[in-house]
Subunit: 434 residues, 4 copies
């Protein structure tokens, strides 16, 4: 045992009135709602990168965290893994997520990276067994190294495409070996800084082919997890190709991938794209491509990804409401792609952030369940569209022509009268439950 | 002749050094560049609504303009048309555009609207012949009347769907009769104010069916213009389904319409969606759905549609560069969906705004031509991707697997070295021409 | 009695578990917290304009509401007042607010406006007495009429300045007569559309003089309410001079008004200026110019003023926390400058919106009280700065020179070590109470 | 001579038609306009940090640049200085700017930093003499080191305040010794991440005292340059106290500093605060606190500081127009606080970026001169306000009361008629010159 979390006991559920800052007030893993344990509904995952690999820098300042495992050796990578699993034991969450670059030191080129990764996968696999934490998803970091500065799959240099493809293979292998439930691709450099040096059609073709290679490989190795694309509109680049859920859907359709790939949606990315989180989730479920979520909020007054732990209960409730309405997670889950503020230096901050985030989510999920079970919202929604549930309306939708519509409007005649949309009353209903 | 523009003579080209505020300094309609007259490149159109129907109101203030044709009678609608064609004669632009509600008074229900529309179409048709101005596109206003407050095609009430469909039919008929080159659909109310009362999947099915009805009708009547959707992310509603070019593409693919419908792109709408204008144009051309443009800018410090006349030459140059690079307009053109500022009360303001806008566009088009003819930018772009133009690279793109990539990376081995993206040098090249 | 609200009974408090949509679940007016009744803490006011005068239009669509009092006669203005006080009786809130243009029809120039206003003031005064509702503040609408299109006090035409000044006098007289607790100035047109026609220094001098005239008049007539400026960064104009709290403070200092005028802060305006609501409140209390609030939120995904009823409890809690921490309202209060969505057509929507808004505020205020009484947040804040509470530190702050600091740093030597800012832990504390 | 810029000759002026990418097309240093040489109008300065110290990282990726001087030794710091002055000789710009942390390696605490700084100041002083480049301004980096993570002057720890004060003293000494024309303070950490742990009033008092110490010290040592504050609304922190020009003005007034400190305005910071660059300049000149500019643009589609070289001529023209209208720079100048894109790896990119930026500015300044000399814009502006230039109007502005205004409005009577604001015509005038 390292002594990084010395003095911090495993977090227990102590009920909503507790004042113990290091206890769950809402997350009672075994509590059953809608026929499932909270743990199985929420499927929490800790993200390796922000929690263990991020040094606390920002564009105007350097490292603030001083972690005993910072450095670029295998020994330190193993210490980092040790501390990570100590935290998993403290929190008791069921899953974690990682990029290759989070868990292994940078090696000497591709071969070095792969060797380091494989050794760490074995090391982590043993820890997973010991602690009982599972892998929600793995992914490849195709954005930090300077070789990717102009893109990975969309790079103008085919060597980078090949290097990225080879790297994804190693990361899919690692994820498969560790029993991951999903594999994620976030295209942080798949986009452009200036249109002046960019060929959109070429880069689209490259990205489409790359994703098809990933899907083909998945089937070849028998990986039965879900392949997920994580949309983000911009940052680090000026424009990213996986802009938002609607854009990713169009991309998948264009390349014949709409039945093979789903989306991992992040609140902060939704906000940057001009959407609410619940919009992106609702759209993905309507389009049949909802997969998983990254539960980290942005600051509404900041124009970049702040990746903060969730803290606004009513907002989180609306997100889980859309997920539950669509049947809940299957392979997906609630990943905390959330980072401490760079001034939050203490080990206790890291624990408290996760405890607070899990509690906000647990309370929100219960509120969402209560809204669904109450049923008023869904009854009112169905009533609003009930005019479409007649045979005539169905015929109108399925077979009508403009000429036929004109006849109807002239002959009946039709003079539609607006009806209240009741927005404030619906918002009041939500507020009964949050 | 009305005396609205009394004292204002037809605008002539007087060359770049002229100080006459009511002369063209750059728009010499008959000047030939890249084998085409400027008029045929730019295909300018005046928009009926902002130029003749908008009263100068905003959310905090009422009408500022006092036009002799304001009011809701057929007589005033004809006076409005008279003045419009007087302006077309002064400006000499080849096209105009309209909504039904711009050119006819509101009638008594559908039948009344249709009768008014038909009478005005005949009136306007005669003027078109007399003045020689053509119709770039027609469209139906499916957003101003309270019956559309919850959507037209996506309304929860099937009667509104039918009413909207019938109205579109009359507008397509009008457009067809007037020889329109395109027919546009802008879904200003196709979206939502709150997810709480909205069924995204239902509304998507309704919108998809509606658009198919439009396309089927077009073919039935032998209208050979292009059907165009105009993307806008929001405003008036919180979220609109035709968010941006990428979103519209996904919608078209989903409903089998990608070969039937193209996009009409507006600078202000691009900005509201988080994109540059040239991005939206370049994306549409890459996806094969570019149709036409609305040449009105937004203010970068305002979060709503300001619909201003274009005035920034370098920005407009980049837009035309993308259009020319893709072959120029076919049925589309440059519509000024631009409105005077509400303090610009004088008839001369209306003329000056169009003269200034046309001149900015004409100069920008010539700059774009010069950049294309110089060729440096395109040569550098092609060089940047030239690594993909070998047989090996093509094979990589077309047939590779992740395993094959891994082998290559290991065996050669591949260690890609980044190359400068040269952004500043490219921007300097642009500045040689603007 | 009109029958507009027919069938709707006065709203009663039924406790937090009630499911009655037309009952208060949290607003128990007589409940005492921190030594004051909830009614006296919150000081709710209904805004005449959005609730009774706004027709439901937006920039892309016309009127959706059909109210029996719409129209421009004294008779209808009185019917509007009748219905307003019927709603006040139903809601039981203690205050209302108005612009002159909300309560009187537009008259024939200044004299006509004044005569109409005076007659309505008498009419409303009698109703106030009957129902028991008081006036939180009055104000003049200096932005809707076309005469103000280029500003009121800051207009390039001195006649407009005079007209606006005369109008403000009549509105201050009306407010004084009705026993108003404050008088508000919102400079919706005090700003510019383009710098190209604007003289910032001149307009600043005009606005400074205008505000001094208001303050002088207040003292002359013995009005003992507070004069309030309402900041807003933009909309309707591109730039408004009362941009935000910090900008207004600088303006007040520049014109010697910092002890005479305070601010009325609106959540939506704070958001448009890039601030959180609680920031603007906290800044105003730190600068000694906090006055009152407009409790209407903006939509975070819309770039304009949506003026919606508050509905996010945790956010509202942080606002009241700052207010209570600074001692609570004195003459100010919680005005609902909030409007129904334009699809919310029914009288019940209007009642439900206010009931929901009042309940969100009441619950939030109680949460804020609980946080203050718990004291943990304030204790931690004080501890964080406790290093400044020594004599040495006070001397450093009051008398030190750069040279002295250099000596200290060299001699002791000083090598400061960062301490955790504990942001996540503080956010978790807040979540115990909301 | 290092060989970093090997093969690149000093940049010469070759006229506007030149195609040589490494020549000036507009910046002819000795050309005289409005009675001054271009060099003396523009007063270009190169920024040490972005050009020589920034490694090419962003929040999602590490270093891309590989400069021979990267590293933390005095030897490398001197090599960096050598290359910097080689670039100055190539560009021929008259000034440079620096932070302490740009030019010296991080030392062992304060004493180490100071010793390193002093040695580098001597080294650089000799180079300045040799090459003839002068110092526009110096500044202290009070934001990158972790000791400043919670602020410098506004830190809750008085030791940090003292450390920052001592550091500023050393940087003011360095600036004085090198003959700097100004001294700048940018408060990148003077703000907050969360209000929950922040005491605004305390931090304002600390910052006010700190700035007074700086001013007192300036006078004590006889530094006759200008003290400048650089506003920025946010980034790195959520909220920064020097939000924008208006906010800084209020701060200066509050602490009695309005005659002692001026502002250094950056285009990108203006944009982040919701303003145009020309607005911030015009406001600063109207308030009498304009000092200098940082000429780096932001990308309008990115919500963070992109710090790019200027490239849009018409926009830059409006900025210089405001500066020239107010009399031009005195001690201030045009600093390129602009960074290469992180993909721009080549030494030639660094030269080309500055050449392009200088040329855009030079052309823009000449356009601004032409607009001023033409005089139409200023004549129209003056005419618009000419109603205020009568004795009656002056009396109205200086002595009127609300009662007096009411009398005038009733008696004459006054019924103001709006006049066109002519925005489009003014924008067309600008377009004649850009």
């Amino acid at each position: 045992m390292s002594d990084f979390f010395k003095g911090i006991e495993p977090i227990r559920y102590e009920g909503p009135d507790g004042a113990n800052p290091l206890a769950y007030r809402h997350y009672n893993a075994d509590e059953v709602v809608m026929g499932k344990r909270l743990e199985d509904h929420l499927r929490f995952a800790v993200a390796w990168w922000h929690s263990f690999a991020w040094p606390g820098g920002d564009p105007f300042g350097g490292q603030t965290f001083e972690r005993p495992w910072f450095g670029d050796t295998m020994e330190l990578a193993k210490l980092k893994a040790d501390v990570a699993f100590e935290m998993f034991a403290i929190l008791g969450q069921p899953f974690f997520c990682f990029h290759d670059a989070d868990i292994r030191p940078e090696g000497d080129g591709f071969a070095g990276n792969t060797a380091n990764l494989e050794e760490m996968v074995d090391y982590i696999g043993a820890k997973m067994e010991a602690v009982g934490t599972k892998l929600l998803w793995g992914t490849a970091n195709l954005f930090s190294h300077r070789r990717y500065m102009a893109g990975a799959a969309t790079n103008p240099d085919p060597d980078v495409f090949a290097f990225a493809a080879a790297t994804v293979k190693t990361c899919m292998d690692a994820t498969h070996k560790l029993g991951g439930a999903n594999y994620v691709l976030w295209g942080g450099r798949e986009g452009y800084e200036t249109l002046l040096n960019t060929d959109l059609a070429r880069e689209d073709a490259q990205l489409g082919r790359f994703m098809n290679m990933v899907v083909e490989y998945k089937h070849r190795i028998g990986f039965d997890g879900t392949i997920l694309i994580e949309p983000k509109p911009q940052e680090p680049t000026k424009h990213q190709y996986d802009y938002d859920v609607a854009t990713v859907f169009g991309f998948l359709k264009r390349h014949g991938l709409e039945d093979e790939i789903k989306v991992n949606i992040e609140q902060g990315h939704a906000i940057l794209a001009g959407h609410s989180f619940e919009h992106e989730i609702a759209l993905a479920t309507a389009l049949g491509i909802f997969g998983s979520i990254d539960m980290n909020r942005n600051d509404y007054q900041s124009g970049w990804d702040t990746d903060q732990f969730p803290n606004n209960g009513p907002e989180v409730t609306l997100a889980y409401y859309e997920i539950l309405k669509a049947g809940g997670f299957t392979t997906g889950g609630t990943n905390f792609d959330a980072k401490l503020r760079r001034q939050s230096l203490d080990p206790e901050d890291l624990i408290a952030a996760h405890v607070g985030g899990m509690d906000v989510c647990a309370k929100a999920l219960k509120s969402a369940v209560a809204m669904l079970e109450d049923g008023t919202l869904e009854r009112l929604r169905a009533e609003r569209y009930s005019g479409w549930d007649t045979d005539d309306s169905r015929a109108l939708l399925n077979h009508a022509t403009l000429e036929h519509c004109e006849e109807c409007v002239r002959d009946r005649p039709i003079d539609p009268q607006p009806r209240s949309g009741r927005q404030e009353r619906l918002e009041n209903i939500v507020n009964r439950f949050v």
